[in-house]
């Protein structure tokens, strides 16, 4: 066929046509390449013919045995474990019952027999379900071994058992928000199940930082507090401040991960990692540390708290006004809004923002969950924002962020990345405050428990430091006096801190035995004390007979007449003040 075509009687005209210039060249290139293509196909068919001869004439005469591995063995979804190797999620190989209606001989009879073995099946409705034009139908997923045997013993044609996997959560609701849950086909939908879906499928187990014993104590005590104070919800965290490992993470209400469908949407929400809140006074620790780092010279440096701070139309006031100059220590221990605002004002907007940023409060944490809350940061950030954020309003952060910030203040000044995975290598961190500031913060936090609003966080035998927070929740039309977010952040042992513990209660109610108070000091602080008492032995913290920090001279001279514990009043953002002054929120 490649003979010169000009010679043929019928095929010659094609090449004789004169085409000019580029068109001619393109056709020529095309023809050469078409020749190459023809050659390649020729080779391909020659190889096929050769292989055909080989397989038909020279293959081994014996038929190859059918391998029994009809389906590739599923590696199965890997387990999730706590830091001590206890199972949080695992796989159970089960069998699921199906029907191929077309292959069934007697549908009603088979349904009857199945209903006798599996009482939850209704013979009539099953008969109806299998009578349609269906090729395939599941009858029941995940049969027990006994049920499997009984179904097999029936020997029904068209009825079969397919290997299946069921995800099991031995700890139930205890680690529900951390571990998450899967859909019926074992695809991760939330928590670690979702964020590590790929790895778990590949058979790589996840070893979490969670300590089941700590988790249990944390949840148990939070449940008790929720019940005691009829709170809507609660969140709690325990973090190792040296490594950033989260030993416990609880969000209440919670749910049974085995049946996430049965849970309310509220219960599925992870308040500890995904929820963002205006935390109130607990943020004053950051303001104070910043002042010590950048502004004030010492703990005795005084700030003017003689009168409410007026800024434009806003008025920032203390609820138990001292009406005098307050030292850094007093601002913190008395939880003075005015003093905190003045501290931040002295430092200035830019450095305030930069300092909070260095603590990781202005960006979402990269915790190993997809449920990581994005903090609500004011944009633009004006001076009024600096003033209110100084005492905990106008910036909404997640509980994980709060705890991570406290970890940096307490551990000697190094910001560590919070993690839900057990750390194996060395921990990397950035210095955010000096070691001296960290020591001073420990003293201040201890003083809050010794002399201030956090007295009920005192756990017998252990040194606890910390800070209370009681924030009015922002609602429609301003801050709501009766809807509080009450919290306590504890660090312990206060003299050489190893752990940060957070308890947050959403709208706790006051009780007779709390004198009607629902503040952080009355609701969250006792929870933290109970948690410390339960987890300290587990974490290897020895009770201290002597209290080294107590030997330091008191930070605040006891006030004449003040005597007992003074009560922290709720903080609120400036919006409420606007309302109180008859202005409209919309005028901002």
């Amino acid at each position: 066929m490649t003979a010169p075509r000009t010679a043929g009687p019928t095929g010659g005209y094609a090449f004789k046509l004169v085409r000019e210039g580029a068109g001619r060249r393109a056709i020529d290139v095309g023809r050469i390449r078409l020749g190459v293509t023809i050659g390649l196909f020729g080779i391909a068919f020659a190889v096929l013919a050769g292989r055909l001869v080989e397989l038909t004439l020279f293959a081994e005469a014996e038929p190859r045995p059918t391998r029994v591995v009809a389906a590739k063995p599923e590696p199965g979804r890997a387990a999730i474990q706590d830091r001590n190797g206890l199972l949080l999620a695992t796989n159970l190989t089960t069998a699921s019952l199906y029907a191929r209606p077309k292959a069934m001989l007697d549908v009603p009879g088979a349904a009857e027999k199945l209903a006798r073995v599996l009482p939850e099946i209704d013979a009539a409705s099953l008969t109806e379900r299998l009578s349609g034009e269906k090729q395939f139908a599941w009858i029941k997923r995940h049969l027990t071994p006994r049920q499997q045997q009984e179904v097999n013993a029936l020997g029904l044609p068209g009825i079969g058992l397919a290997p299946d996997h069921s995800r099991i959560y031995p700890q139930g609701a205890l680690t529900a928000h951390v571990v998450g849950y899967v859909d019926p086909d074992s695809r991760g939908l939330a928590g670690i199940e979702r964020s590590f879906d790929g790895a778990l499928r590949r058979g790589e187990a996840a070893e979490l930082s969670i300590d089941l014993r700590v988790q249990h104590a944390l949840r148990d005590e939070l449940l008790r507090s929720v019940e005691r104070h009829q709170a809507l919800a609660a969140a709690g965290l325990v973090m190792d401040i040296a490594s950033g490992e989260i030993l416990g993470m609880v969000s209440l209400p919670d749910f049974e991960p085995q049946r996430p469908g049965a849970a309310e949407r509220e219960a599925l929400f992870n308040r500890a990692a995904l929820g963002v809140y205006e935390m109130g006074s607990t943020l004053k620790a950051f303001t104070t540390a910043m002042a010590l780092e950048l502004g004030a010279t010492s703990l005795d440096h005084k700030f003017d708290a003689r009168a409410p701070l007026q800024y434009a139309r806003f008025s920032i006031r203390d609820d138990h006004p001292k009406n005098r100059w307050l030292s850094v220590s007093e601002v913190f221990v008395y939880s003075s809004n005015i003093g905190s605002a003045r501290m931040a004002m002295d430092v200035g907007i830019a450095r305030h923002r930069q300092f909070l940023g260095s603590l990781g409060l202005l960006e979402a944490v990269r915790l190993e969950l997809l449920e990581n809350g994005q903090p609500l940061v004011p944009r633009p950030w004006r001076e009024i924002n600096t003033l209110t954020i100084a005492f905990g309003h106008g910036l909404a952060i997640t509980p994980v962020q709060l705890v991570a910030g406290y970890a940096a203040l307490a551990n000697g000044g190094i910001a560590v990345t919070p993690t839900l995975l057990k750390r194996t290598g060395p921990v990397e961190g950035r210095r955010v405050v000096s070691a001296e500031t960290s020591v001073q913060m420990r003293r201040l936090m201890r003083a809050v428990v010794e002399q201030g609003t956090g007295k009920q966080a005192e756990a017998e035998g252990y040194l606890v430091g910390g800070k209370t927070g009681t924030a009015e929740k922002a609602g429609r039309g301003g801050y709501q006096r009766k809807a509080l977010l009450s919290s306590f952040v504890g660090v312990f042992p206060a003299d050489a801190p190893r752990f940060v513990i957070l308890a947050v209660l959403d709208e706790p109610k006051g009780r007779k035995d709390t004198n009607g108070y629902a503040t952080g000091g009355w609701t969250a602080a006792p929870a933290v004390a109970r948690i410390v008492n339960r987890i300290a032995p587990v974490l290897g913290v020895m009770p201290t007979g002597r209290m080294p920090l107590d030997m330091l001279p008191p930070l605040i001279a006891p006030e004449a007449g003040a005597g007992g514990m003074f009560e922290e009043e709720p903080t609120r953002g400036p919006v409420h003040e606007i309302a109180a002054h008859g202005d409209q929120l919309a005028t901002r």
Binding site: A14, V29, G30, T56
Partner: protein, 377 residues
Amino acid sequence: MTALATAPIADTSILGRWWSSIDRWLLAALLILLAVGAVLTLAASPAVASRLGLDSFHFVKRQLGLMPIALGLALTISLLSPRGVRRLGTLLFVVFLGLTFATLWMGVEIKGARRWLHLGGFSLQPSEFLKPCFAVAAAWMFAARQDNPTFPANLMAIALYVAVMAALLAQPDVGMAAVVTAIWAGQFFLAGLSLWWVASILLLGLGGAVAAYLVFPHVASRIDRFLDPGKGDSFQIDRAIEAFGQGGLLGRGPGEGVVKQVLPDAHTDFIFAVAAEEFGLLVCLGIVVLFAFIVLRGLVRALGQVDYFAMLAAAGLMVQFGVQAVINLGVNLHLLPTKGMTLPFVSYGGSSLLALALGIGMTLALTRRLPDAGRLR
């Protein structure tokens, strides 16, 4: 022009002109192939049909009923001039591209992919028809530069390709995407793509294959099983290889095969193995030679075309036909990893049969020796 003088029959009626200009060798090969397809469908499909609980001759009736329609379609289209092919191909390209996208919303999900549309009583796989039409539309883009040097031929061809790929990968249908890529790359190559680019596209194609391996788990599993048969399920291919061995030189005889009793895809992807078991090496060699003849004959005829568009389009259609045949035969002979691809005109499948008729009809039309085919306009 000497063309008129050398035309063997000076009949000027439409049919007369058709008969004198058509490639009668290619036509004869097509008829033989259809006959082979009918026989093999009779051999392979009743076993599958009764296994599926259908009437034994379910597939036979459908396929043999469609064959005259397919043949009529091919012959009718072969009457067209190259310009007519260009119009028809481009129009159908637009229609079937739309329908292929429509499968994403209105399609029926079968085994995890949406490739089929249910229209009234029958189902249609628009992407089968998209393949030949794409070859024609892309050829037009490449050829348009001849008439208008400023026409952004490459860009347009790339745009067409991207549109088709988007539809196919969304379904997903990796095999079809691979065939379309082969057509497109082949035409680009013929259209004078610089060798540097040819090398780059080869590398890119290799990258695409690796990406498909990494992205689509079913692709990865098939390739793993091909490279390491000990791993997992190689049931179909084991049975197929066995069938070739059992067939030997002359086969077990018609109807004596057993592999069709167990192979799920005996009537489609593995029909060649059934043929080998029942009819033996000689018949199968004949089938391979028949396919080689059609592909090579078609390409050689394309080579002889004066019209640039006709050459590119015919070559693209033949590359599609050839790649499909080579892949199916290669899979049957365990030279390639398992890939659901039909053996043209032989495997059962209505959409595939009609689409192939469309493609071969256009090839016949494009490879006619028309005395006035020197220019399109």
